[in-house]
């Protein structure tokens, strides 16, 4: 058993027993954490593993959430049956959006995905085909029913989100050990070398995109169920920035890194509501500092080129 597995198992064990100790307020923070961790891992597949500068990840999170909301509220479909649609729609839209621009270089790709995100936001707030409910979104989403049981308690939703996280980690583990995972690794390390070795770069990038998007889509469904409401501002450009930052601040392609990133970005502000006003300021400063001190993220621990004004003075030890 190596170090990574130990950390993973310890983490999962803690999360599995949390509902036994936590009250309802903590439980809903726990759900938020799990859902956003899944989204962060899915973004990590695209950004950390495939090295595609995706700054529109909130789109796929949102498509999942809105698919569940629309199918349930407008078409009366049971929540549980909306989830396959959430997966498929997110994947299809990911391929349709990323397909034409997959050849673009880093910054240009990033800008294009920002564009997509803003169009997505506008589509949602303009109440397209009378389905998305405009700026107010959709409310009154039903509870999950499985075999006649209504799962509306926070504990039930917590374990749904927890199960989703385990599945996601399982998928990532399998991905890393597969032909696809290796191809993505090479592409990320040196795209031109990978191309010259005969790896079909756009194909693998799109694959990573679709995979990441569909996982984010399921997370979106759970998010919609948790709040029984969805609205455009949860899937705006700012949210994408957060998902982008989580992976890079935590450390790309690193499990503890992504967990730390999610915790810092989404859980700390829930815990310290008194800092609510200044929390983004502190985040922003933390993002800058992390990048300066550890350009490759918090985890694994490697220091970058520390600037003079942050270096300890000689002899100060």
């Amino acid at each position: 058993m190596n170090n990574k597995t130990t950390i993973t198992i310890a983490f999962l064990a803690i999360m599995a027993f949390l509902p036994l100790l936590a009250d309802s307020a903590w439980l809903s923070i726990g759900i938020t954490f799990l859902v956003f961790a899944v989204v962060a891992f899915s973004q990590d597949i695209i950004l950390g593993r495939a090295g595609v500068f995706n700054m529109g990840h909130a789109i796929f999170f949102g498509i999942g959430a809105y698919t569940t909301a629309i199918l349930n509220v407008h078409f009366g479909l049971e929540i549980i049956y909306t989830i396959p649609f959430a997966i498929i729609f997110s994947a299809i839209i990911a391929v349709l959006l990323a397909g034409p621009i997959i050849h673009l270089k880093g910054d240009y790709f990033l800008v294009a995905t920002i564009g997509f995100n803003i169009i997505f936001e506008q589509v949602l707030s303009n109440d397209i085909f009378g389905l998305t409910g405009g700026p107010n979104g959709i409310f009154g989403i039903d509870v999950i029913r499985i075999f006649g049981y209504e799962l509306f308690s926070d504990t039930a939703i917590y374990y749904i989100a927890f199960g989703l996280l385990i599945i996601t980690l399982f998928i990532i583990r399998n991905l890393d050990n597969s032909k696809y995972g290796r191809a993505l690794y090479y592409i990320n390390k040196d795209e031109i070398a990978a191309k010259s070795m005969g790896i079909n770069v756009p194909y693998y990038k799109l694959f990573a995109f679709a995979l990441g998007a569909s996982i984010a889509g399921v997370a979106g469904s759970v998010f919609a169920i948790q709040y029984s409401a969805v609205s455009p501002e949860s899937f705006n450009f700012m949210q994408s920035v957060m998902f982008f930052a989580i992976v890079l601040v935590g450390g790309s392609a690193s499990l503890p890194g992504v967990i730390i990133g999610t915790f810092v970005m989404f859980v700390l502000p829930e815990l310290f509501t008194e800092f609510k006003e200044s929390r983004y300021l502190i985040f922003g400063a933390a993002m800058v500092l992390t990048m300066i001190l550890r350009p490759n993220g918090v985890w694994p621990v490697t220091f970058g080129n520390i600037p003079k004004f942050l270096r300890p003075k000689k002899g100060a030890k």
């Binding site: 009250d23 309802s24 307020a25 809903s28 707030s125 303009n126 109440d127 405009g134 700026p135 107010n136 979104g137 409310f139 009154g140 006649g148 049981y149 209504e150 709040y227 029984s228 409401a229 969805v230 609205s231 501002e233 949860s234 609510k276 006003e277």
Partner: protein
């Protein structure tokens, strides 16, 4: 299965009831935009609630229990509102005041309903009472009442022949705009153009230039003051020779600041604003508010919310219980409860009835006079 559900609901409610009975405080929630665009309205709602709660606590509390206020900032956003609803329910409140915008109110409604928590809001969207939740009652008046009054004023009083109706895309504003369009058409008025602007973009000259070519008599705007003030300023700058009539949410001091000199001549249709309320309760509470917070409420909305809270307190005291179901049905049977904003009557579906409106005209110096 059904029996199990009922049993668990019973168990849950008995736990809730017993916890209320044991604790020597009761909690009332405020869900309002404390930060963001409508922060001054949200903060004022919170202030007014605290004013009334402190008064009650000083008199010995509610049925002998001190009231604790729990505030949740929904930033006037629907998703945040849904989060707030969960938080307030988790905090154990028995009633919630808010929110300011209809959208944020509606997003939270079902959560309060499911958890049997009372909610009262100033939101004016007709859709707020569509679901007939027994937990909800409105403390202001619906768009439909305002639109009929507005149409009557524009078509029959001012005899406008060419009317332009603008709104933004929010449920409140678009709803009021649509309702006004329908009311005008119902009394055979002529709607020249029904357009929407995007709240917050600041530049409305494209839409206004388009409107200018239509030579309207009046531009009616049913959105919020943050856009209305700029709309008016840009209308004057483009020399569009038409009257400007604003819906209730334009009535905010910032409208005059944004419009500057252009504000002169603007007509606003609103519920009577706090300072001209003739009721004895109004004088008492508004001067207390002014004394404590060193300013007046920015609009009528914090005041109607205060009335909502006072109605709930009245309900608790008259039914001598914290059973929300009893309080809700009591509030629906109250006759002319003396509110700060006038007699308070709530219909079976949670609608407040007996709307009164006032027409104001802005003067050059930013003050306004009552026209009608």
């Amino acid at each position: 299965m059904k029996i199990k559900n009922i049993a668990s609901a019973l168990a849950l409610s008995s736990v809730m009831l017993s916890s209320v009975a044991v604790a020597d405080t009761v909690k009332i929630g405020v869900q309002a935009p404390i930060t963001g665009k409508y922060a001054n309205e949200g903060q004022s709602i919170d202030n007014f609630v605290r004013l009334i709660v402190d008064e009650k606590n000083a008199q010995g509390g509610l049925l002998g229990k001190q009231i604790e206020v729990v505030t949740c900032d929904d930033e006037a956003k629907a998703q945040k509102a849904a989060v707030c609803a969960k938080k307030l329910v988790n905090a154990g409140v028995f009633a919630v005041i808010g929110s300011y915008t209809s959208g944020a109110t509606e997003a939270a409604q079902s959560t309060y309903f499911r958890n049997k928590v009372l909610q009262t809001s100033d939101g004016t969207s007709d859709s707020l009472i569509k679901r007939k939740y027994w937990t909800f009652f409105r403390n202001s008046f619906p768009n439909a009442a305002q639109s009929d009054f507005t149409a009557e004023y524009m078509v029959n009083v001012k005899k406008y022949k060419k009317i332009v109706v603008l709104s933004d895309y929010s449920s409140y504003s678009a709803g009021l705009g649509d309702a006004t369009e329908a009311s005008v058409k119902a009394i055979n008025g002529n709607i020249l153009f029904r357009g929407k602007i995007k709240s917050g973009v600041q530049n409305f000259t494209s839409t206004l230039t388009k409107i200018k070519a239509m030579k309207p008599d009046v531009i009616y705007y049913s959105g919020y003051y943050t856009d209305g003030g700029l709309l008016r300023a840009q209308q004057i700058q483009l020399q569009i020779d038409a009257d400007f009539v604003g819906g209730d949410s334009n009535d905010n001091p910032d409208f005059y600041k944004l419009a500057g000199k252009s504000a002169a001549g603007t007509v606003l249709i609103n519920f009577p604003t706090p300072e001209i309320l003739p009721y004895p309760e109004a004088k008492k509470y508004l001067s207390a508010y002014k004394k404590r917070f060193n300013m007046s409420p920015p609009s009528i909305w914090p005041v109607t919310n205060a009335d909502g809270l006072r109605a709930i307190i009245e309900g608790v005291e008259k039914t001598k219980s914290f059973d929300t179901k009893k309080i809700a049905s009591y509030i629906r049977t109250m006759k002319d409860f003396p509110g700060i904003t006038g007699p308070f009557n709530v219909r079976e579906d949670g609608e407040r009835v007996g709307a009164k409106f006032v027409v104001y005209k802005m003067k050059n110096d930013g003050t306004k006079e009552v026209v009608k």
